[in-house]
Amino acid sequence: MKIKIALAQINTRLGDLSSNLEHHLSIASEACQNNADLVVFPELSLTGYSLQDLVPQVAIQPSKEEPLFKQLLHASLEIDMVVGFVEEDARHRFHIAAAYISKGEIVHIHRKVHLPTYGIFDEKRFLAAGNTFRAFDTRFGRIGLLICEDFWHVSSPYLLWQDGADIFLLQSASPGRGVTDENIGSADWVETVNRSYAGLFTAFFAHSNRVGFEDGLYFWGGATLFDPDGKLVAMGPYDQESITYAEMDLSQLRRTRTRLPLLRDERPEIVLHELGRILKHD
């Protein structure tokens, strides 16, 4: 099966749900016209990133009746989507979340597990952490979602890999930092890691990162898709809004894993056993 993916590196209006929703719907319709099967938006794409005390104001309890999701779900009849938002749980905890929606249904919601609270980041002050990594089935195969800091921890994609994910969809709102080299320091790091993960897990790794500014923070875009050989399939431009289209040829999974059976030879039971021993000693 071949899937055409659209990586939507958009700018957002901070705290303005209705304008961001409109932007999503217009991008989704454009991607649809270009025959894409799936469009991936960046982290917190419906709200903007630096929310601080705006968190409770923009939080959503997603359902088929919720007005904003109703419109997204309607659009998902035409094209599958991954959107970023603040999810409020039944007991009023607020999470950074990514939803995979398809054919009018919310297929899966991932709550960001690793909330960076250091340097320029202050997420734990305002938000609750998720505590699961679960792969899920879609019409294109088994997928795993990760949000930004989640994939700075190697255990996150590892768990999804062991849970059956062959396609990894990563969202970011990554602020640029480091201007001494050829490329933005944080962009370099993210690209290197995505490429390494694709090769190490012999899987597809798609990354959608936003663009624009929030106060002094600058988001660099540069969406990427790496294939199971760790090869770059497509890359979006830095700094500007853009939809990057790329084809995922899922039969590549078989070819790569025949040549390089890392998944077959992985020994998760040793990881489990040794972690059990290590954690017990603590």
Binding site: R13, L14, G15, D16, S50, Q52, D53, L54, G176, V179, T180, D181, E182, N183, I184, G212, F213, E214, D215, G216, Y218, D239
Partner: protein, 273 residues
């Protein structure tokens, strides 16, 4: 080797887009900048001109009677080169009546008055020109507190505040700022013969390297000594950074209520845009 080299193309691209974004998202299209004839304001002007178009940038020249004629001339060189708009408003008539009341007034007081009068004019022109005030303070002077609070430090946005002085020089070359502006000794030009480096007691070259280790690389004092800096110099600089934190902070508000501005009422400035 402590290397403060920046990728000028990368930095220029970010700062130009930063100026454009932070000005246009507030509904403005234009910028006003106090242009002293020195390198920092020249770089801010060049970046703003690239971001908004030269017709949308107003450079303000604000000479005092003791200001070096070179300052005016160098500012004009840049105005002509960029094709930006300009206005010249001598400040002596505004500053003198206040200074005249206090015959014993120190140079520091006089310098602060000049810096604050220049701020008043920038904000007045901001209203008239319908543009935001773009700042010109570099990271070195902000960290060292080598600036007049509510004077030259006042602005709506500051594109060069995360660049050390020696990095501003690199960017100035990339922006083709006139050589004479890049090469002259940095000076606030508040009184005749004043230069930054004689007043501070060290060179920008040296202090930028130390600040880079202390601030950017989070070195401890003993590690800076291992890198070859004198302990006395390190401590003097570290103390200065600490002493002038107040110039980098909004005034503290006494917390009384359940929700206090700045403490637990937290929003980005770009809220809603």
């Amino acid at each position: 080797m402590i290397d403060l080299t920046i990728n000028c193309g990368l930095v220029r691209n970010i700062l130009v887009r930063f100026i454009h974004s932070e000005i246009t998202r507030t509904g403005y299209q234009r910028a006003v900048i106090n242009l002293s004839g020195g390198i920092d304001s020249a770089v801010s002007c060049a970046l703003a001109s690239e971001a908004l178009g030269p017709e949308n940038v107003l450079a303000i020249r604000l000479p005092y009677k003791t200001s070096s004629p070179d300052s005016l001339e160098h500012a004009q060189l840049l105005i002509d080169q960029l094709g930006i708009q300009s206005i010249t408003i001598p400040i002596s008539d505004m500053v003198e009546p206040l200074i005249g009341r206090f015959p014993e007034m120190t140079k520091t007081r006089k310098g602060n008055i000049m810096a604050r009068v220049r701020m008043i004019i920038a904000y007045d022109q901001s209203e008239e020109f319908h543009g935001l005030v773009v700042g010109t303070g570099n990271k070195t002077e902000i960290l060292l507190g080598y600036t007049t609070l509510f004077g030259d430090s006042a602005c709506a946005l500051n594109p060069i505040g995360d660049l050390y002085k020696t990095q501003v020089r690199q960017l100035a070359r990339d922006l083709h700022i006139p050589q004479v502006i890049i090469e002259k000794p940095p000076s606030a030009d508040l009184w005749q013969g004043q230069t930054d480096e004689s007043e501070l007691g060290f060179t920008y070259e040296k202090v930028d390297q130390l600040l880079y280790l202390l601030v950017d690389q989070r070195y401890q004092i003993f590690e800076c000594i291992q890198e070859g800096f004198e302990e006395e110099f390190i401590k003097a600089v570290a103390n200065r950074v600490q002493r002038y934190q107040f110039k980098r902070s909004l005034p503290p508000i006494a917390k009384i209520s359940s929700r206090t501005i700045g403490a637990d009422f937290l929003y980005f400035r770009d809220w809603g845009t």
